[in-house]
């Protein structure tokens, strides 16, 4: 049974967004880490990079496969999480907290309305 925090918004591609004023923090959901299991490597975008919503901007590797992470929102990367690069297993143990990927300065706040609510994300993943 996936944990879906109620203070986050979600992308169909299993990323979450925690909004704080005009910036947001991005990571992948409990459902996603459960599907991937054993995360062994995380590759994050460079600080300063500008990304568009839906653009592949990070990679998460499990023992078996590499998965692209798509930015749920547009904007400029202002910070990345060095701890998750050092300890990729954090994505499995703390997907919504310690396993965060990057912080982004929102380029277009209206995009947040296109994201899924916790209920809608729950419906999407079923169960």
């Amino acid at each position: 049974m996936s944990h879906i925090p109620s203070d986050l918004k979600y992308a169909k591609t299993h990323e979450w967004v925690r909004v704080s004023g005009d910036t947001a923090t991005v990571g992948i959901t409990d459902h996603a880490q459960h599907e991937l299991t054993d995360i062994v490597f995380v590759e994050l975008p460079a600080v300063g990079r500008k990304v568009k919503a839906g653009e592949a901007c990070a990679v998460v590797e499990s023992v078996k496969t590499a998965s692209d992470i798509y930015s749920p929102v547009s904007g400029e990367i202002i910070e990345v999480n060095p701890t998750v690069v050092d300890q990729p297993a954090l994505v499995n143990s703390e997907p919504h907290t310690g396993g965060w990927f990057y912080k982004i300065k929102l380029g277009n706040a209206a995009e947040l309305n296109a994201l899924l609510s916790p209920d809608d994300y729950q419906k999407q993943i079923g169960g």
Partner: protein, 374 residues
């Protein structure tokens, strides 16, 4: 519709993550690939290998026939022994790698890769039809067999508690644990016959058990229940792949295919040039004498990087020189490992190479095989 083994419902009950493996719906993992891998290295793991194929070859002509289509020398086998061997087409390329067991003077059992059953059977039948030696009976019996592998240092502590007693056919041992590596014998289990071989694909001690589909679920359940206190865990194809990669066992479709010879793949020791003619011999002998264009090497990543994966390019001295054929993050070593083909001049341990991973050139070094050793 994907094919399912007789253990499908057992996998469902264990909530296995199922994937399409060459047309079969098989468990890639039950809990986590890392956990399952480490269970095999430290205690024991149990694998469903029912998808593999089996072919019986019997009759007075069987020995001569098999020695003409397989690379290893089947005459080395006494009843109750098996050997790793390969089947090549006349150009020297590998049709499959397999195990050949001698069950009696004129009876052999071949255990072949699931993905190659059709190709192997077609090849063997075509050659059997041309065989003039007489006394040859060849049957594809894959659908008659289900199979389980139990692998790990602690398997020998409990397997005899499930498959008890002395052997009942092939040759005599007083207990299943008395089988030596590569030996095979028949045993009884719950009123059924099964074949047990001391073989495996993980680099650990272990056994591979062949039996009928009707009894395999009982055997699986029995082994799981008895083995659990010893640390036995169900293990899927994901762990099977990381385990075999660590010890550099080839996987058909990766290290081996119809365009690669056993010499290039480094399994020359399983080619018996002195036994007489066999399919592929002349090309392999040429390679043995004159060298080859590429060689399989094992490597380790030397800097922190994403894991190497099949088809990633290999670079050396600024030039693209080859390709990765198997790659993963090693659960035992906690770094990226793999195997790939490079020109022979580079195929030496300590040679520095780079693996191109998503546009980055990541440092690696060629190492002797096996990559992991206890």
């Amino acid at each position: 519709m994907l094919k399912r083994t007789a253990l499908y419902s057992a996998h469902q009950q264990l909530a296995a993550k199922l994937i399409d493996f060459g047309g079969w719906e098989m468990p890639v993992q039950y809990t986590s690939i890392t956990d399952e891998h480490l269970a095999v290295r430290n205690a024991a793991g149990i694998f469903d290998i029912s998808h593999m194929g089996e072919v019986t070859v019997s009759g007075l002509g069987a020995e001569v026939f098999l020695n003409s289509v397989l690379t290893n020398d089947i005459r080395k086998l006494a009843a109750g022994q098996g050997q790793y061997t390969l089947m090549c087409h006349p150009g020297g390329g590998v049709i499959d790698d397999l195990y050949a067991y001698r069950l009696s003077e004129h009876d052999y059992l071949l255990v072949i890769n699931a993905s190659r059953i059709e190709a192997d059977v077609a090849w063997l039948q075509a050659h059997a039809a041309q065989f003039t030696g007489g006394g040859l009976n060849l049957q594809d019996v894959s659908h008659n067999y289900a199979a389980i592998a139990v692998q790990g240092p602690r398997v020998k502590e409990f397997i005899h508690l499930v498959i008890g007693g002395a052997s009942t056919s092939v040759f005599k041992v007083l207990a299943v644990t008395e089988l030596k590596k590569n030996q095979i014998a028949g045993f009884h289990f719950g009123g059924h016959s099964l074949l047990v071989a001391r073989t495996g694909y993980t680099g650990e001690d272990g056994f591979e058990i062949l039996g009928s589909a009707s009894m395999i679920e009982l055997l699986w359940a029995g082994l799981l229940a008895v083995g659990q206190p010893f640390g036995l865990k169900p293990a899927g194809l994901g762990a099977r792949d990381t385990l075999r990669t660590e010890v550099c066992y080839p996987l058909y479709g990766h290290e081996l295919n119809e365009n690669i010879t056993p010499m290039e793949a480094g399994v020359g020791p399983f080619v018996a040039f002195d036994k007489g003619n066999f399919s592929g011999r002349s090309v392999l002998a040429q390679q043995q004498a004159n060298g080859m264009k590429r060689k399989l090497v094992a490597f380790k990543m030397t800097d922190k990087s994403a894991p190497p994966r099949p088809q990633y390019p290999i670079w050396a001295n600024g030039v693209r020189v080859g390709e990765v054929v198997s790659g993963t993050q090693s659960p035992s070593l906690n770094l990226g490992i793999g195997m790939g083909y490079v020109p022979p001049i580079l195929a030496r341990p300590h040679t520095n190479i780079e693996i191109e991973i998503r546009g980055k050139y990541c440092a690696a070094v060629i190492v002797p095989k096996p990559i992991f050793r206890k």
